[in-house]
Amino acid sequence: MQLTVNGNEHEVDVTPDMPLLWVLRDELNITGPKYGCGIAQCGACTVHVDGVAVRSCQLAIGDLAGGEVTTIEGLAEPDSLHAVQEAWIEHQVAQCGYCQSGQIMQAASFLDLNPEPTDEDIDAAMSANLCRCGTYPRIRAAIHAAAKKLQEA
């Protein structure tokens, strides 16, 4: 099967029911997306398909239908970080880091759809992403900061 990840085409020899997360991690060795639960409860596996956040543990590779996959490795332009990544660094959001690639991919896709979010919008968009380290207050702050950056850009 063929798929495009971060602008690169790949050919993988797997069954169509293999979840995208397994293809990325085990077949392509793209390990930014994390396995947290495998049942759509945590968001650690979040990637973009055609720019929209999806749980890669829930998407069978056979259902990708030519969609272009972006992982945390491909979110930035080659030599500048995405505004969400910049804001994340400025606010020192990450603790253990395990959930963070998923949080960042979720936040980037959400800000694309809602460039001026309220706290309630952020609660609604980000509450399916678990963080066991409790970085939520800084996730909130960093999303507001990233929204500002994107507007000024």
Binding site: C37, S127, C133, Y136, P137, R140
Partner: protein, 136 residues
């Protein structure tokens, strides 16, 4: 004393018609010498958030030679929408360098229990509290 660190926490809640809502929380901890203030703050509020998960809804029960809650569908944890606004104050009066990962955890359930008592008159003496009261 919380893992060797004098720590105090206050939680503020509102008793809404759908259940208890967490509004604000305050942490003060005297950790001795602070090496990294930004991370020390994150560790303290992270400890509080982790502990609120356990106070509110995370329970492990055992059977079949292991925990019965096998994944996050049955073992929820606090999510962003439930997270109160948190203020952290770190003091440096104690001698030496003390841990900062654990001290945020133990005071959270009693602080929440006291807040629920103040808001509702109900004393909850069993964790997780969602066995006895609803949360929004």
């Amino acid at each position: 004393m919380s893992f060797g660190v004098p720590t105090a926490q206050v939680v503020e809640v509102t008793n809404t018609e759908f259940g208890i809502r967490l509004d604000r929380a305050y942490i003060v901890a005297d950790v001795g010498l602070v090496l990294d203030p930004v991370n020390a703050e994150a560790q303290l509020f992270g400890g509080l958030i982790y502990a609120l998960s356990h106070a509110i809804n995370s329970e492990l029960t055992y059977g079949d030679y292991g925990p019965l809650q096998t994944n996050y569908h049955a073992y929820e944890g606090l999510r962003l929408y439930q997270t109160p606004e948190i203020e952290v104050k770190i003091l440096e009066n104690m001698p030496g360098i003390r841990g900062v990962g654990e001290p945020g955890v133990p005071p959270a359930a009693p602080a929440l229990g006291n807040a629920i008592f103040a808001a509702t008159g109900q004393r909850i003496r069993e964790m997780p509290f969602n066995k006895h009261i609803n949360f929004v």
